[in-house]
Structure formats: C-alpha cells, structure tokens
C-alpha cells in the first residue's frame, strides 16, 4: 500500500495516501470541488475542465479528478485564477447548451444548472452565436436531445464500461462532435438495450425516458376506463428519493399516493414476482430432470432468468445461440399485464377492453418490453403504459400530494399480496435468493438452511457472485434424482458482468445450473428509471431498504403468497400448466 503523504490544501496541511487524486485528497480535507465528467462508477475522463485547481509551481491548472497528489503538493481550490477559469468553463458550456430549463426533464435536478447557480453565472459574454435548438430523438424507452449535451461522455463510458454495449460514441471532431451511434442511427436501430443507465448518469437533460405521463393522466381522467397500476419492487425504495426525500422504503405511502391520483386499483408487481418464482422454479426443476434423468440433450443448462428486459434485449443481440437457456417465463411486469386483463378482469367483473394497465417501473427497458409483439396474450396489449419511478414522482408532485404526510395504505386485493421473496427481486441476487427459498423447499420438503432464510452468498455488490448448495440425501417424493446433487448458481448485475459470464458459458468453462442476470448495476434498484443521481453509496442504501422490507414482511417465500395460491387454485390450476403456457411464458428472437 502507498504511504501517507502531506499535502497543503488551501493552507491546511492534510495527510492523504500517496497516489490518490487531488479530488479525493480534497474530499478528505473537506473541500468540495465541482465536477461534471467525473462519476464514481466510471473511468476518469478529465475532459470537462470543471475541477481545475491551482498547484504551486505549475504553469497550467491541474485537473483534480485525474491528477495524483505528490508529497508536499500545495493546492489552491478557489484562488482568483481557479474561480475565473471555472466560471469561464461554465460559461463556455452554457453558451452552446440549449438552456430551456423550464421545459427540461432535469430542471432542478441538473448538475450544470446547479453549478451555474453556485458560481453565480447571471450573464454570458461568450453567447456570441445562437444556442442550439432542440433535436429530439425517440426510442421506446430512451429519448435524447443533443442540444443539451455537454460532451462529458459519462453516457459513453456507462454504455461501454458498465454495460459492454458501446452503442453510443463521440462522433466527429472539434465543435461538431456529438454523441451518436453507428451511422448516426436512432437508438431504436442499434443494439441499445434500452437499460437507461446512460440516463441516470447524464449530468444534464440530454438523455431522459420516453414519457408516458400524458396518456396515463388521460386514462385516469376517462370515467370509462378501469385503471390498474402495478408497482415494481424497487420503486418502493426509490420513490421517496425521487420526491426529494431521504432514501427509504415507502410502500404504504406509495400505495396511498397512487390511489390519490385517482387510480382504480393499486396492485403489486411483487405478486407476479412470486408467481414468476413458482413458474421459473418448476421450469428449472423440469430442466434439471430432463438433463440429469432423461439425458435429454435438447435441454439447455444453465437456465437463465428472464425478468430484466435490458438483459433479454442484450442476449438477443449478442448471444442469440444461448437464447434456449433463457427461462421462458415472462417478466413479472408482463405476467401481471396478462393476468390483469384475464384473471383480474373476471374477478372484478370488468370488460378487459376497458382496463388500462399501467406499470410503475425502475426501468426504461420495460417501456420497450411492453411493446414487444409477443406481449398480447390476454387478447389485448398486456401492459398499456410504463412509467418510471421518476415519472410517478412527477405525477404525485403535479397532483399536489404531500408524500411525507400521507397515511400509509394497503394494496388492493387479488393481485396485491406480496412476500419478502417478491420484494428482493429489486436487488441483485434477489431472484436467485427467492428461487432458492422456494425450489429448495419444493424438492427437499424443508426450508433452505440459511439463517433467517437470508441467502447471503448471492447478496451484495460484487459484480459476479457464485454459490453452490448441496442437496441432502433425503428428498421430497418425485425429486429423488436430485439427492446429493450440488446445485451451482451464479448472479451477475451490469451487462459487462453478464458478458463475462456468458463468455464462460459459451466456452463451456462454466458449469452452473442457474444464472440470474440483471442488466443494471445493483439490480432493479439501480435501474435506468430510478432517481438521479446514482452511485455505489446510493445503491447500497436502496439495497438496505429492500432487505429491510423483506425482513419486515409476514411471508418471506413466494409459494406462501396466499393470493398466488388462490390464483393457482382458481385459475391457473398448476405451475407450467396449460393456462400458464398460454399467458405467462414467451419466446425470444435473434436480433442483429
């Protein structure tokens, strides 16, 4: 490890580890340095020039985010020279930035706006030519407006480093450089996964979700429509944050606030998360039987989860030869949609044609997923609209609902019951943990042998997690073939990690039985539809909220969900049965 050294920051001597950046040294010393291109999740770019500081003896200013400290370095962070340079940089950025703040999705949550305010930029002598005009480009989940782009390349680095997708790059040179795609195509026409990770790292409003707020209000305001909302697990740990409150779970307030919007039924995606576990668990067992007992070569293992639409689009583009490994289960959102217009319609006695199915998701890829032509098994479009956590927050704000004061309420019935297993779908490793809690019990007849049902090996922020669970010798009837088998599982979050796992699977290097993949770092709680900003610290806090919610729930295992049990008894009859196949399972396509 590097030794500690002394540096002098604004006259105060501070001891820091040699080799850390000036930016980190200043943080240690309690000195704030403004940044734009810097992001804790990404490699260092050093291109925005916001974090300039003065270093004694240097002809030029130093870039704090990339410059390592050296012994006895003397740093000034707000000298006249520094302040002047920073203000100039801001003015230059603002002069070529489409400053239309009131119309911008990121108004009041924009790093450029905030810095302009902090640095008191009230006039701009470098506004020597007109500002660029809005240039909107639309795809199902993500919109771009390059007139607001400041070329920090955080999106570019996100797409490449975290997601190994790399569909957006700097194109051109000099002042005509833009962030663009192969042959300047729409994001719709390139292998973009629609994950939205670029959105949550954009410092301005150059990237944002394709909003569906307007049609949702129209549906709510239409007396002939029966509007059903479902809320994904991670939304309940993101919504408070999106409304400017501290990070915390807020399930009861969320339900009350949605009901306050005038929605007919407030239901829970957790319900279909539990359902997914039943279906997927049985699918896994059936695949294992096919492979281990029947020696059926057509059975693809490892089986991979299918909840994350960004991941699905990724594998369809990049590893189409592995598509048979992906579980045929629809995602919880789409299972919900299919059931809302069949099962729920029957329960409520409503014509499905009049049901408007809206899902609140921490995700932008869900907006893409609902548009897939396969997702109409109810005879209608299974999910009509998808709103991100951020869009829901905007609607709550617009409705004037005081989220802090509102009394907690419960979900409506039939598809509103939730277990802890459903909730943890929102965190990386959660689907795996929920599946293990249920599958182990089905095949052994006993609870999974982890303290408090907490399958710790699959939890946490490690990019790729592995676990192996050896089955006991005595199994439940019908599952004897698994006696003594060691079940190997892996979990990856962030598509760059998924890629590492897929390369291993493809080369035959991996001998897992089951793999969970979530497109976004941290899982859905770090999704592209979640509050902005994001950072490892923020995702850690959301994770803690998710597991707190799990621990607080009466039911912790999917198969214990009373409404799921009722659903099987009255409607589906059995897992992987005829009705399930019709409504809850799907197929995938190879994409270029």
């Amino acid at each position: 490890m590097m030794p500690n050294i002394s540096v002098k920051i604004n006259g105060t001597v501070t001891s820091v580890r040699e080799g850390v950046t000036i930016l980190d040294a200043c943080k240690t010393a309690g000195v704030e340095i403004p940044t734009l291109c810097y992001h804790p999740d990404l490699s260092l770019a050093g291109n925005c020039r916001m974090c300039l500081v003065e270093v004694e003896g240097w002809r030029t200013l130093a870039i704090a985010c990339v410059t390592p400290v050296t012994p006895n370095m003397v740093v000034l962070t707000h000298s006249k020279k520094v302040r002047h340079a920073r203000r100039t940089v801001l003015k230059l950025l603002l002069a070529s930035h489409n400053v239309n703040c009131p119309e911008c999705e990121r108004n009041k949550n924009c790093e450029l706006q905030e810095l302009a305010e902090i640095h008191n930029i009230t006039s701009n002598e470098y506004q020597t030519s007109p500002k660029p005009e809005s240039i909107e480009e639309v795809s199902p989940g993500i919109m771009r407006d390059n007139s607001r782009c400041i070329m920090c390349t955080r999106c570019v680095r996100t797409c490449e480093e975290l997601q190994s997708v790399a569909v957006i790059k700097p194109v051109g040179r000099s002042s005509s450089v833009t962030i663009s795609t192969f042959m300047d195509r729409s994001l719709n026409d390139v292998p973009c996964t629609q994950c939205g990770q670029c959105i949550v790292r954009c410092p301005t409003g150059a990237l944002f979700e394709t909003s569906e707020i307007r049609p949702v209000w129209e549906a709510i305001e239409n007396p002939d429509k029966f509007v059903v909302f479902q809320t994904a697990p991670a939304v309940r740990v993101g919504l408070a944050e999106a409304l400017g409150l501290p990070i915390d779970r807020s399930t009861g307030q969320m339900v009350a606030a949605i009901r306050g919007l005038g929605v007919d039924r407030v239901l829970d995606t957790d319900f279909t998360a539990d359902l997914t576990i039943i279906e997927e668990g049985h699918e896994l067992i059936s695949r294992l039987k096919g492979a281990l007992v029947d020696n059926d070569k057509s059975v693809a293992l490892p089986m991979m989860t299918s909840c994350s639409p960004g991941w699905i689009k990724f594998i369809e583009h990049k590893y189409p030869e592995l598509l048979s490994n992906v579980s045929t289960c629809k995602s919880p959102q789409q299972m919900f949609g299919a059931l809302a217009k069949t099962y729920l319609a029957g329960k409520e006695g409503i014509d499905p044609a009049n049901i408007v199915s809206v899902s609140i998701m921490p995700c932008t890829a869900k907006k893409f997923e609902k548009e897939r032509p396969e997702m109409r098994d109810s005879g209608y479009k299974d999910v009509d609209y998808v709103l991100t956590t951020r869009e829901l927050a905007r609607m709550i704000d617009e409705a004037g609902i005081d989220f802090e004061k509102i009394a907690e309420e419960k979900f409506d019935r039939w598809m509103g019951d939730s277990t802890g297993a459903g909730v943890i779908f929102g965190a990386t490793g959660g689907v795996m943990e929920a599946a293990l809690r249920t599958a182990y019990e089905i095949i052994t007849g006993h609870e999974i042998p982890f303290d408090g049902l907490n399958v710790e090996p699959v939890r946490g922020m490690e990019g790729i997690k592995e676990a192996a669970i050896t089955m006991p010798e005595r199994m439940a009837t019908g599952f004897e073939f698994l006696a003594g088998v060691t079940l190997k599982v892996a979990v990856a979050h962030g598509l760059a990690n998924a890629k590492i796992l897929m390369d291993k699977v493809q080369s035959g290097e991996a001998d897992y039985h089951f793999i969970e993949i979530m497109a976004c770092p941290g899982g859905c709680l770090g999704g592209g539809g979640q509050p902005i900003p994001t950072s490892p610290e923020i995702r850690q806090k959301r994770t803690e909220s998710i597991y707190a919610e799990d621990a607080a729930l009466h039911f912790r295992k999917s198969h214990a969900n009373p409404e799921v049990q009722l659903l099987y008894a009255e409607f589906l009859k059995e897992p992987l049965g005829h009705k399930s196949h019709e409504l809850l399972h799907t197929h995938y396509i190879k994409r270029d």
């Binding site: 490449e160 790399a166 790059k169 700097p170 194109v171 040179r173 192969f182 042959m183 292998p191």
Partner: protein
C-alpha cells in the same frame, strides 16, 4: 471495377491482423481502395477487431481522410491554410469549382472527382498546393489546375 468491400476487408485483416492497433491501417486500406468506407466494411472491421460498430464509426469520423459517404474515384484536397491562401488558393478553388460545377465537399455527378479543402498539407514553400489522391501538385495556376483536372480518369 473495384472489388467488393468484404474482399478488401479480408485482405486488410490478413495484412495487418485484427488487433485493435491495426484499425487505422485497415481503414486506410479500405478508404484508399474504395475512396470511402462503406457501412458493411465498418461492421466487418468492428466484428473482426471485437469492438462495437459505433466504436469504428467513431474512429472514422475523427479523421479528415476517412469518409463513410461514397466519394469520387479521385479526391482533390486543396489546401486553404494560410500560406496557400496568401498565394491564391481561393482562386484555385474557384477555378476547380467552376470547372467541375460542384462546391467544396461535393462529388461530381459522374462520380469522377470529389473536391475537398484541407488543412495545411506541408507544401507551403510551393503554394498554392493540392493533393490529388496520393500525388502533390504545387505552385498551382488556374490553367495548370484545369490541365490536371482534365487528366483525371
């Protein structure tokens, strides 16, 4: 008749390998042979090198000599930087534009010639100067320029 892009890409990969550091050489070869780098060639290079199509497109877009738009069989690059400008490059530009009936940046309808202006080409001592494909032409006068253009296939 020019070869198809796939063939050229294969040749370039055979000659320079598919390492990332070979990208400029591969692109240069394609660009020289076809006058531009067609979309399918971009994708083929990206695939061979193991990077995204967008990445190769991004590289191409950085360099003045590369283009993903079809260009003429001959490319005229007329220098308009200072020493050439002082020695009459503007007049030469007008001469060429008039002769070809196109503006700088465009290609003649018959696909014979693309006209571009360029930053300094290091022939300031013999200004005004231009490159026609790989050949420098210096101390240009309007008649001389017309003669050079007439000689292009």
């Amino acid at each position: 008749m020019s070869r198809n892009p796939q063939e050229i890409v294969s040749d370039a990969l055979a000659e320079y390998g598919s390492g990332r550091e070979a990208v400029l050489q591969i692109l240069t070869k394609i660009n020289r042979e076809l006058s531009y780098i067609p979309e399918e060639a971009v994708a083929a290079v990206a695939n061979a090198v193991g990077v995204s199509n967008a990445e190769i497109y991004s590289v191409i877009s950085f360099y003045s000599f590369f283009s993903t738009e079809p260009r003429g069989r001959n490319i005229i690059r007329l220098c308009t930087t200072i020493s050439c400008e002082m020695n009459g490059s503007r007049e030469i530009l007008e001469t060429i534009e008039k002769e070809l009936g196109i503006k700088a940046g465009a290609t003649t309808p018959d696909g014979r010639i693309t006209l571009e202006t360029t930053s300094c080409i290091g022939l300031c001592d013999q200004a005004p100067a231009m490159m026609v494909n790989d050949t420098p032409h210096t101390r240009l006068t309007p008649p001389e320029t017309r003669r050079i253009i007439a000689g292009l296939e």
